[in-house]
């Protein structure tokens, strides 16, 4: 659809006079070209403007004002460029300071003497003995590696790294330590688990509904794997584990920290580059939009992986879109599309690509 047509469609849908129309289109143009048009969930050729018109059309005119005001005032869209920036600063500003602190306490040098610490063989050894594991594709470990300028052989896309790869990385580590005359055994002392986003923290760790007091999720799975790695000597006995999230909600961080403590992993650290405070939750700051979510929620969006989610999985009520996909912790109006055949035919502003989809083989 030509964008001019989409704009005229908007005019037909919204009850705006000419100046308001001019001003709103100018605003939309600005953010569409800067961010929204890059959304990965759009089919080729589809742009934000026409999707906005299509989305607004499903509401009645009073609801449309609410929906539009949400987009105008509250929508948080993390663009590719912004996400890249979060990844770029994660190592120098979040992770390396942890390594410097640990190295300083190992060697008894004052923490503030960063140049001296960074120059020391102890630090260089620790840095090389750090392993980065991706909790999902979103971790974009390639980018993180480039920003940190560390070795290929310290990164693995799969947090449940298999024995073969682990052995290979360990062998590389041994060779480098010898080569560069760095102290320490050839086992990893520091592990960072990396993910791009956490909305509720429940994918990372949650209490098992079937077994009260038991926990499951990626972190507990990794804990089990860690035991093997330690047993085979890939990971050193004095290892430490840190979790790095590029974007996470306050709710997720509290949940993860709390759950880790309950399962005896209180020593694991959690670092977030862009924290989303509670003040952005839609149900608390924008009740009319939250009401609209309940009114337009289509139960056919529910499946065995998630229950009814009008304001998002685990009631996170996030107004958030990531450029490659919309999290299901965001309000359903943003992401939940449903078909006319077995559902209510709801349109989404940023349709979500579902990893678990009932129609997909």
């Amino acid at each position: 659809m030509r964008s001019e047509l989409a704009e005229r469609l908007l005019h037909a849908l919204m009850d705006w006079d000419v100046p308001r129309f001019g001003a709103e289109v100018a605003r939309l143009q600005m953010l569409a070209s800067l961010k929204y048009d890059e959304y990965g969930g759009y089919r080729p050729g589809v742009k934000f403007a026409e999707n906005l018109a299509r989305w607004l059309e499903q509401f009645d005119s009073a609801e449309r004002e609410v929906a539009y005001a949400f987009v105008r005032e509250r929508l948080v869209f993390v663009s590719d460029a912004e996400m890249s920036h979060l990844i770029d600063i994660a190592y120098p500003d979040e992770l390396e300071p942890r390594l410097l602190t640990r190295s300083a306490s190992d060697s008894g040098v004052a923490r503030h003497r960063v140049a001296a610490i960074a120059d020391s063989v102890d630090f260089r050894s620790l840095r090389r003995r750090t392993l980065f594991l991706g909790l999902s594709d979103g971790a974009q470990l390639d980018r993180l590696r480039r920003a940190s300028q560390l070795s290929h052989e310290q990164f693995s896309q799969d947090y449940l790294i298999d024995a073969e790869q682990a052995a290979r990385l360990q062998a590389e580590l041994a060779a480098v330590l010898t080569d560069q005359k760095l102290p320490g055994e050839s086992a990893f002392r520091q592990i960072f688990l990396v993910d791009d986003f956490s909305g509720s923290g429940r994918t990372l760790i949650r209490e098992d509904d079937d077994n009260i007091g038991e926990y499951k999720g990626k972190l507990t799975r990794f804990r089990d794997r860690l035991a093997d790695l330690q047993a085979t000597g890939v990971v050193a006995n004095d290892h430490e584990v840190g979790i790095l999230l590029y974007v996470a909600s306050q709710q997720a961080v509290e949940h993860v920290v709390d759950s880790l403590a309950r399962v005896g992993l209180g020593g694991w650290t959690v670092d977030v580059v862009q924290l989303l405070g509670r003040h952005i939750k839609v149900d608390q700051t924008d009740p009319p939009t939250a009401d609209l979510c309940h009114a337009y929620y289509d139960p056919s969006s529910a499946d065995k992986h998630k229950a009814d989610t009008p304001i998002g999985y685990s009631d996170c009520a996030l107004p958030l879109v990531l450029s490659h996909n919309t999290p299901n912790n965001s309000i359903c109006l943003l992401w939940a599309e449903s078909s006319e055949d077995d559902g209510l035919g709801r349109k989404a502003l940023f349709p979500r690509y579902e990893r678990h989809h009932k129609d997909r083989p």
């Binding site: 605003r27 600005m30 800067l34 509250r74 920036h85 979060l86 120098p92 390396e96 004052a110 960063v114």
Partner: protein, 355 residues
């Protein structure tokens, strides 16, 4: 890159913990004699933990204000700082505001006078509290100290800012002096042959007048705006883009998506790195055409402004500025609550960490 690794301490408690150790040796605090309600805060915290002597040099600011409310806060700050130092038994020296014809040259004069007074001969540890100082003063002052520490002085230099969005937005700025470079940041002489001029403004809320004045004065071929991200409010960048839409869509230099720089609003070293990287990239890409002229300007918080200062210092860049001719406080602001808003952020810029 001088500050590839750095020491930054955020939070009042952390500030106290840090100085509990450092203030076993004497400290010279440089503070502003202005009306900003944050003025006594860092000093108070420091004195709570200091074991060695703490002296203060207070830079007087222009006193010309008829607003009784402002005068009252200025006086309250004075009294508070006087009392703190008297209790602690340190010395307090007031450095007068220089008599100048051009407000722009006040900053360099303040810096020269500071060095002429010989403080660096006696002090090995200096903490510049920029909370109560305007950019036109702390840019040259900190620059002078960085220059000294690169040559003759081997002490430790800290800058502390109380970063608070509440206070920043409670300030009214009146009048606009003609645009000009900040003292010490005039950059290379104007008649070098430049391949192109690139303007990097750090965008802030409500500064469109200043931005428009700078745009005309700089006449850039390219504009690379800086947006705060990560940020406590993740939409802040979007809102700034919308607020300054007119500037950003000016057809003399279409600002494309890839032109934006994102920088953490809480960490000046991120912005410092970003500008330095960009500068390096441009200079090597444009080598054949000659050098690119970089002009920076900052319209945002104290912290991001320090990032601009560091990048300009390291790369020898020009920083342009439009000074307000009068400051004031927004009506109905609760001064007492402003004094406690935000948090102290200490940046250790020179000395032991970097040796």
């Amino acid at each position: 890159m001088r500050w590839a690794r750095y020491i930054r301490t955020a939070g009042d408690d952390q500030f106290g913990e840090q100085w509990e150790v450092l203030a076993r040796d004497p400290v010279l605090v440089v503070t502003g004699g202005g009306f900003d309600p944050r003025v006594p805060r860092a000093l108070r915290r420091l004195l709570e933990v200091a074991k060695a002597q703490v002296d203060v040099v207070r830079i007087e600011l222009t006193g010309a204000t008829e607003d009784p409310e402002i005068a009252a806060i200025t006086q309250a700050n004075r009294t508070a700082v006087d009392a703190l130092i008297a209790d602690a038994g340190g010395t307090l020296i007031d450095q007068p505001f220089p008599s100048v014809q051009s407000l722009r040259s006040a900053g360099v004069n303040i810096s020269r006078a500071f060095h002429e007074a010989g403080y660096l001969d006696r002090h090995k540890q200096i903490l510049v509290d920029v909370s109560g100082l305007p950019r036109s003063v702390y840019f040259p002052l900190v620059l002078g100290l960085l220059r000294a520490s690169a040559t003759t002085w081997d002490g430790d230099l800290h800058v502390v800012a109380c970063d608070s969005h509440e206070v920043d937005s409670a300030l009214i700025e009146e009048g606009a002096e003609a645009p000009g470079p900040l003292g010490g940041f005039a950059g290379p002489t104007s008649d070098s042959a430049w391949a192109t001029t690139i303007w990097i403004p750090v965008l802030g809320e409500g500064m469109s007048e200043q931005l428009a004045a700078l745009l005309d004065a700089i006449g850039p071929e390219e504009v690379v705006p800086v947006l705060p991200f990560p940020s406590a409010d993740p939409r802040r960048g979007d809102n700034l883009v919308l607020e300054h839409r007119e500037l950003l869509t000016d057809d003399r230099f279409a600002v494309e998506s890839r032109n934006y720089i994102y920088a953490s609003e809480a960490n000046p070293f991120d912005l410092y790195r970003a500008i330095t990287d960009l500068h390096d990239r441009y200079q090597s890409a444009l080598r054949i055409l000659g050098a690119a002229k970089f002009v920076l300007s900052t319209h945002s918080s104290k912290l991001l402004s320090i990032g601009v200062l560091l990048a300009a210092y390291e790369n020898g860049l020009e920083v342009m500025h439009v000074s307000p001719s009068r400051y004031g406080l927004r009506a109905g602001v609760d001064v007492a609550s402003l004094a406690n808003a935000g948090q102290l952020v200490d940046l250790w810029l020179a000395g032991e960490p970097y040796r």
